[in-house]
Assembly symmetry: C2
Homo-oligomer: 211 residues x 2
């Protein structure tokens, strides 16, 4: 439908979408997800409520798209993003620590924390939204880890009998667990410990110990 509209309408739509995204992210950060309403998002974005309902089924869907947009903008600015893949310096533990430390920083960043928590919590009780959350937000980074672990297998840094996709959750799982449930502070030292423990498990027994 958009392509049949004059260019002005298309640009206006794009501006509205962006304003709605920004309003949703700002409100979640300010008043929390439960008290963020479609009405409040519409008022802050300067659009009608119906505009939002026409484009998204629920406020969780608005927030998810806003959050994905935020990630893309961060990537476009050349920030610490996963889009360029996990480095392969030949030192598997060092490469994984760099990525997990960057993830710790991102999860501790208030701009990311409130919307990510809200979306994760919604996905936990709503399987449809949870599937979108995993597909759009998590799966792309899982693939980068899988690729790095597979390269590690080819280079003899990772045991050949390990399924890389399972190994990804051995790295990401303990980090996400601590962050989501706040079991203890989420620090670089914890990221390093996860990698050290996991790599000594993943590395072949006859390979030199990487630390």
């Amino acid at each position: 439908m958009v392509e049949n509209r004059p260019p002005d309408a298309s640009r206006r739509n794009e501006r509205s979408r962006r304003a709605i995204h920004d309003a949703a992210l700002a409100l979640v950060a300010e008043v929390g997800y439960p008290r963020t309403t479609i009405e409040a998002i519409a008022a802050r974005a300067g659009v009608g409520k119906q505009t939002i309902y026409r484009w998204w089924p629920t406020k969780a869907d608005v927030l998810l798209e806003a959050f994905l947009g935020l990630g893309e903008r961060t990537a476009a600015r050349g920030g610490a993003d996963a889009a360029r893949g996990i480095p392969d310096t030949g030192d598997l533990a060092a490469d994984l620590k760099a990525v997990l430390r960057a993830t710790v920083d991102e999860l501790n960043d208030p701009a990311f924390e409130a919307p990510t928590r809200a979306l994760a919590a919604e996905g936990i009780v709503d399987p449809r939204l949870g599937a979108v959350f995993v597909e759009k937000l998590l799966a792309p980074s899982f693939e980068l880890y899988t690729a790095r672990l597979r390269a590690g297998q080819e280079a003899g840094q990772v045991r050949a009998d390990i399924d890389p996709r399972t190994a990804v959750e051995l790295l990401v799982g303990p980090l996400t667990h601590r962050w989501l449930l706040r079991t203890l502070p989420l620090t670089h030292a914890y990221a390093d410990a996860i990698v050290d423990h996991a790599v000594r498990g993943l590395a072949p027994r006859d390979a030199p110990v990487i630390s």
Copy 2:
């Protein structure tokens, strides 16, 4: 205050609490957490709304206490509970697999799944409730894992330079991550893979490989 009341009132209170717990668990399983209200819990339990508000600040607190009561009743029936500790047969991997497999079964049990998901999701966005969730529900089992891993250190099954409390999250984290976010099916095979990978990392390099 309870000890100053006549025994009848105390028994009546106990019956009411139990009825409220049962109503909360049943409603969450039937209509989901967001649509479970204090009003509905009161109606189903046959008590006044004010009775509930007098005892608990929020519906999440009702559900948390109900869930803890459920766990205690399961333990009292001699079910697969953690209260008796993690077995120590001398085979660390086998002992951990037994416990993680039992956890998989519990998490996949519909009677536990709905309230646990609801409480976890609430705790993720509400730090106060999250702290209670961790302290009451998770910390006791973390201590059992820590004790088993410490015994493993004394027996030479676990490297001496590992902090057992950190190692706990290397086991529990990947399981909880997959369950909460539904990244892939939660199976016994996955529990076994987590243990195999983690133990090969946790075991001393010069120890025989346990598998």
